[in-house]
């Protein structure tokens, strides 16, 4: 079911958190709201859920204007960064909460909770308390709890932000698979561009209470609408008036007409990739992303003088 946010404005005292924001989330999509902290992405998500009220504008879920409705009546599943686990309840009771509120028959609740626990791989832990779970397990419980009410839309507020890198990557892949199975319209808030690119099929880039660009991960990366998107989604260096991604710089040992002379400061091996940190005569720093094979071929080493040339660049007018 689609979500349509229309001309939402939200102020906290003097601070404008959202300034006339309009964005559409197509039914069945997985959309990421991507932006630095303070960009308004979490506030926007909370307004969609009804946990925060907008000063102006409207929220439409599945064709119905829900702007004035309380969160109880919006049918959204919400997943919190810090899990918001019900600490005094077992995993089973946490997941069953929404169904108990809806007064579903006991047998139906039991059947559904166990199916969800299986889905989030917590079958054996139904009787545990949240304090006995790891962060990743707690967040999977949070997801199962949100999915239990069969939500029209699933909203995730930095769901993996409090987890370590490995668990993050695992959960994000798992979320993507889950979405491919259920096709529940999902919005995930994140400040991690890699996470957004990895998991979403549509990315809305936000800064300072504005939507900067909405598009597929590939579009926002390869055809950024402006300087902010260029530099926030992926790395970029400013070279004169143009912006260049680190992998769009070519390193050569000999100069040719359009190259710049630079000195290697550091060669960082990142597995398949190698990052070469450079400094030019004016003291400006650049980094180049290249392959291990290429770095070995050129025998790149610190203090070496090399030449770089952009193979591709972007300018904004």
């Amino acid at each position: 079911m689609s979500i349509s946010v229309q001309r939402i404005t939200k102020r906290f005292d003097d601070f404008v958190a959202l300034d006339d924001v309009t964005v559409d989330v197509p039914a069945g999509s997985l959309t990421a709201l991507l932006g630095p902290s303070g960009s308004g992405k979490s506030t926007l998500l909370r307004i969609v859920a009804g946990l925060e009220s907008a000063d102006a504008g409207s929220v439409v879920i599945d064709g119905a204007d829900v702007t004035g409705r309380p969160p109880q009546e919006r049918g959204v599943g919400f997943v919190f960064q810090h899990y918001a686990a019900f600490k005094h309840m077992t995993v089973y009771d946490n997941v069953a909460f929404g169904l108990k509120i809806r007064k579903r028959p006991k047998a139906e609740i039991a059947e559904r909770v166990h199916r969800l626990l299986k889905l989030v791989q917590l079958e054996g832990l139904a009787k545990r308390y949240p304090s006995q779970l790891s962060g990743g397990q707690r967040q999977r419980m949070g997801l199962a709890r949100a999915l239990a009410i069969d939500p029209a839309v699933l909203l995730l507020d930095e769901p993996f932000g409090a987890l370590d890198a490995r668990v993050r990557a695992e959960l994000r892949e798992w979320l993507r698979r889950l979405h491919d199975e259920t096709h529940t319209t999902t919005v995930i808030v994140t400040h991690d561009q890699e996470e957004a690119m990895d998991v979403a099929d549509q990315v809305a880039v936000m800064s300072n209470g504005h939507i900067e660009q909405v598009g597929s991960p590939r579009t926002v990366y390869e055809e950024p609408a402006n300087e902010f998107v260029m530099t926030f989604v992926g790395q970029a260096h400013r070279v004169g008036d143009a912006f260049v991604r680190p992998h769009d710089l070519e390193v050569t040992l000999e100069p040719n007409g359009s190259t710049r002379e630079v000195m290697i400061e550091r060669v960082v091996h990142l597995g398949f990739d190698v990052r070469v940190e450079l400094v030019d005569g004016a003291g400006e720093r650049l980094s180049v992303q290249t392959t291990r094979d290429q770095a070995e071929l050129l025998e790149l080493a610190p203090s070496q003088i090399v030449y770089v040339r952009p193979t591709r660049h972007t300018t904004f007018t």
Partner: protein, 263 residues
């Protein structure tokens, strides 16, 4: 060495200040068991204990409900003046109970703002309602003071999660908020109970100390002491029961409290 000195001084201090007097009282009670027993089973003493228990039950019930309400307003309320309310809740701790009792006498007395009750046959002063009011006043802070920090600590995310799952405000309170603060409430109730059982100053002024009618257990101890004529057995006996009640309440709390939940 220093560790032992520290322990010794803490234990010594407790013994001197708390255990010493209590032990002495128990000792004296045991010396004249028959005299103590006669005093405890005296119908007027039984009546005094009944009154103390009644007053305690009412004061605890009222202050539990309003203590939780006050804590919710102080922590979650979106109103001006919650800082004021926060300070206000502490006021009974700062005021001498004698002043509390005296102010009630002034308020409900013949020239007070609320003299209407007394003039129209609703006896407040020198009757049970006055004792209840004085006890409620004096024991007001305990539940709120315990609940406020716990409410702050649990935050609002669990409540918001419950709302997105369809729980109404009332359901959220009963199923999420109250269970999360329950040990703070229990601790507050224990402190309120102990304080209500032991209240003397405020009650002494509003009750009139009418034997068999408005005399609470603490007032009875005072009477037994004042009019002992050298026979302290009744005072010891009644004190012993009062102290035992308070200690029982504390022990019950320790028994029921789960191991990890207390700071």
């Amino acid at each position: 060495m220093g560790k032992y000195a520290l322990r010794l001084s803490a234990l010594g201090y407790l013994t001197l200040i708390v255990l010493g007097p209590l032990a002495m009282m128990v000792w004296r009670t045991a010396e004249d068991l028959d005299g103590a027993w006669a005093a405890i089973t005296d119908p007027d003493t039984v009546s005094a204990f009944k009154l103390t228990i009644l007053v305690t039950v009412i004061a605890v019930a009222v202050n539990t409900v309003f203590g939780i309400v006050c804590a919710l307003v102080i922590v979650r309320g979106n109103i001006r003046g919650r800082g004021f309310l926060n300070a206000f809740v502490d006021l009974p701790l700062a005021l001498s109970p004698v002043i509390v009792g005296f102010s009630l006498v002034v308020l409900y007395g013949i020239n007070g703002w609320f003299s209407w009750f007394q003039r129209n046959g609703f006896e407040i002063l020198f009757a049970t309602p006055g004792i209840v009011l004085a006890t409620i006043f004096v024991t007001l802070p305990f539940v709120a003071r315990e609940v406020v920090p716990t409410l702050r600590e649990i935050g609002t995310e669990q409540e918001q999660a419950a709302q997105t799952l369809g729980a109404s405000g009332w359901q959220t309170f009963w199923r999420i908020t109250l269970p999360s603060i329950r040990w703070a409430v229990v601790y507050g109730v224990v402190l309120t109970t102990a304080r209500a059982i032991g209240e003397f100053g405020a009650v002494a002024i509003v009750s009139g100390n009418i034997v068999g009618k408005t005399q609470t257990a603490t007032l009875r101890v005072e009477d037994a002491y004042q009019f002992s004529y050298g026979n302290y057995a009744p005072a010891y006996g009644i004190s012993f029961v009062l102290a035992a009640m308070a200690i029982l309440v504390l022990v019950l709390m320790i028994v029921f409290q789960p191991k990890e939940s207390r700071r």
